[in-house]
């Protein structure tokens, strides 16, 4: 699988305190990669390093197979970014603001209408940017970031200010972009979002990756060796996977209706909390 970006042993400090410590990971072409961690873990710093807003003290970063220090300015034609410090022109209308970025990117104006409808902002296109709510502004900035169908999209907490129905719509849009060939690097502290969207995830804690893999792999890896059965009369009962427990389960089933039986899989949040507790 081709690497879209690589970070190897990257470190950076601020005011003498290490923000990232020998951080290493890879993102493959056409995948949605989730970068999870609590606030202050270094997610935004990582995106800033990957987009040349910061310079690492040590380590290696590659973007599209090239050392980041040598990538040409044209590389940014293939990149889209949404971060907490993305800006818009407040005195412009929503439509004029997006139109300006479409002109910068040489994108057909018909795409603006298409995207505004997708994020539910078409009716508000003539409103001034400064009059939009936080959620509406976030959606507008997402449109700005994906206008040119980037090859690589960096999203820093893209649905942080959004309600569940808009979040779902944004997720659909991102999945569609991914199917069309966009690699997505997504940071979030919403574990369920990563679980729904991402092909692979990495947990960031105290400046380095403590675990990574696909959500399914991680759930299997950290699954408890137990099952839970739900009976009509006796309710929920946990069993281990031993032969004695299975006999006990069979015995109970004779006298009571078994409704469901499944293994106990942890959520991504459970895994993260367990790993960060161990790391502490």
């Amino acid at each position: 699988m081709k690497n879209e970006l690589i970070m190897k042993d990257v470190s950076i400090s601020f005011d003498g305190k290490k923000a990232l410590d020998q951080l290493s990971f890879e993102v493959y072409e056409n995948e949605i990669f989730g970068f999870l961690g609590p606030s202050g873990a270094g997610k935004t710093t990582t995106i800033k390093l990957l987009t040349k807003q910061l310079k690492a003290e040590s380590g290696m970063i590659e973007l599209f197979g090239e050392d980041i220090d040598h990538v040409s300015q044209d590389t940014f034609e293939k990149i889209g970014i949404l971060s907490d410090n993305s800006g818009a022109y407040e005195r412009f209308s929503l439509y004029d603001n997006i139109k300006f970025f479409a002109d910068i990117r040489r994108v057909n104006h018909a795409r603006i209408d298409e995207l505004l409808k997708r994020v539910g902002l078409y009716e508000d296109r003539n409103k001034k940017m400064k009059s939009l709510s936080r959620g509406m502004t976030q959606r507008a900035l997402i449109v700005q970031a994906v206008l040119h169908k980037p090859k690589l999209l960096f999203l820093d907490e893209p649905t942080a200010a959004l309600d569940p129905s808009t979040t779902k719509e944004i997720h659909q849009m991102l999945l569609e972009l991914n199917r069309e060939g966009t690699t997505i690097f997504l940071t979030t502290h919403r574990m369920e979002e990563a679980d729904q969207l991402c092909d692979r995830i990495a947990f960031l804690n105290k400046g380095h990756v403590i675990e990574s893999g696909s959500p399914e792999e991680l759930k299997v890896k950290y699954a408890k060796d137990k099952m839970v059965a739900v009976f009509k009369e006796n309710g929920k009962i946990e069993f281990d996977k031993s032969s004695e427990a299975l006999l006990q389960l069979a015995e109970l089933s004779k006298n009571d209706e078994l409704i469901t039986l499944h293994s106990i899989e942890p959520t991504i949040e459970d895994i993260f909390l367990e790993l960060t507790k161990e790391a502490a």
Binding site: Q53, L54, F76, S86, R91, F101, I104, R106
Partner: protein
């Protein structure tokens, strides 16, 4: 380094639209025009005072447009994170600054042309006077860009631009005092006024002519060096 003309055009149009939607900027642009009108049409001034009023308003215009408005325009983009968004949208620093400087030049010259006609200066001198003013304004534009880069927001541009404005406006006081003019002869706006008044091309080759050209050129070089240094220092977050 690639420079895309279509990006500069889009940036320039955006800047014009954005600035004219700001009441502060509209007021600032009207200041030199308002003063020119006030002095020439409302107050009782002798006919030959046209050039004097024109110089006063031109110097005011240099303080307002290239220094203050360009600085505010850049600082606003930093404050609202649109500069960062532009850089990450593959707009190069050269494209961004070119659009800002072109904006400054167009607005500055536009105001100055209006002031020229309001003051009733001899139309035959128009090409030469506007050329001298344009060249002099370039260093002011660079300093305005520097102020925009070092200011963290629009309000901060006031702290930094005021001393620079006063410096460029000092020749106004030089007009009233011989001893002050000995100091202000090293300021480009003083040289600008002298060059505007020459009567033939041979005057440029006189001691005073060459000195005035050297002062304007030196300020341009210094402003470019300062700009390059400040830009490099402020281009990254760390």
């Amino acid at each position: 380094m690639k420079i895309a003309g279509y990006k500069i055009k889009a940036l320039f149009i955006k800047d014009i639209k954005n600035l004219f939607r700001s009441p502060n900027v509209a007021f600032m642009l009207l200041l030199p025009i308002g003063f020119a009108f006030l002095y020439t049409h409302i107050m009782e001034m002798p006919d030959e005072a046209g050039m004097y009023v024109f110089n006063l308003c031109t110097i005011l215009n240099i303080g307002v447009v290239p220094i203050s408005i360009v600085a505010m325009s850049i600082a606003e983009e930093k404050e609202k994170n649109t500069l960062r968004t532009l850089m990450l949208s593959n707009v190069s620093a050269v494209e961004f600054m070119t659009a800002k400087l072109v904006l400054g030049i167009v607005m500055f010259l536009g105001v100055n042309v209006l002031v020229y006609f309001i003051c009733g200066v001899d139309i035959a001198s128009f090409p030469w006077i506007m050329l001298v003013i344009f060249i002099t304004s370039l260093s002011a534009l660079m300093f305005g860009a520097v102020i925009g880069l070092i200011s963290k927001d629009q309000m901060a541009t006031g702290y930094y631009s005021t001393p620079v404005m006063l410096l460029f406006m000092a020749p106004i006081f030089g007009m009233m005092s011989e001893s002050i003019s000995k100091i202000t002869q090293f300021i480009p706006t003083q040289s600008m006024m002298w060059l505007q008044g020459i009567e033939s091309a041979s005057d440029l080759l006189t001691g005073k002519g060459l000195f005035s050209i050297a002062v304007i050129a030196a300020w341009m070089i210094i402003s470019l060096i300062v700009f390059k240094f400040v830009y490099k220092k402020n281009s990254l977050d760390n």
